[in-house]
Amino acid sequence: MNKDQLSSSVQLIAIPISIAVFFYLMWGEFSKPVSEYEFVWPILWAVVSSVITAIVASIVLSIIFADQLKNSVKDERDKRIHSLGEYYTMGFYVLGGVLALAFAMLQLDYFWIALAVFISGALANLTGSLAKLFMYRFGIFE
């Protein structure tokens, strides 16, 4: 395992937890009209939980794979996988931005705009991380 694999693995743990925290905290809101949703704190807690999970998971995985990480060399294959992974990540960010723009132009409630940005950000990192780990395991696809 190298640092990029560790970072991608950490994202695979942290992001689902972040999404779960968001929907858990939002659960009680769904019975209200959308315009009355209190979504700011759920999003902030989701981000905080993601950061905390990422820190803890990084520490744990760094301890477990200490030897492999110490001897890891970043070479051209790692750089290629990283840049391709970022390409997939960027796709979802762009999609989220376009969706948020469309929602704003349609004058939808703030919740939908925030949800589009939050979910696309989470999916962007999740997809990028999955793509990187997949390419490390099965080879590079372009």
Binding site: N2, E76, Y136
Partner: protein, 70 residues
């Protein structure tokens, strides 16, 4: 017409002057996983890396890597 880079790196590496994957990786400055990926055909090295590998094994580039046309 598409083409794919093929290689017989494993055969050459373990041939007359055998070398471990780690030794070759250290010589050319990549990880052992990259050598494994090249040998199994899951990664096509850059021209620079292909040249470094052929020099490290003291072989001509085209004896190790070649293009297979589909």
């Amino acid at each position: 017409m598409s083409s794919k880079l093929q290689n017989k790196l494993r055969e050459v590496r373990t041939g007359s002057n055998p070398m471990t994957q780690q030794q070759l990786a250290d010589l050319v400055g990549v990880s052992r996983q990259t050598i494994i990926s090249i040998e199994s055909g899951r990664y096509s090295p850059s021209l620079e890396l292909a040249i470094k590998i052929s020099e490290a094994l003291d072989y001509d580039l085209k004896q190790i890597f070649w293009l297979e046309k589909n």
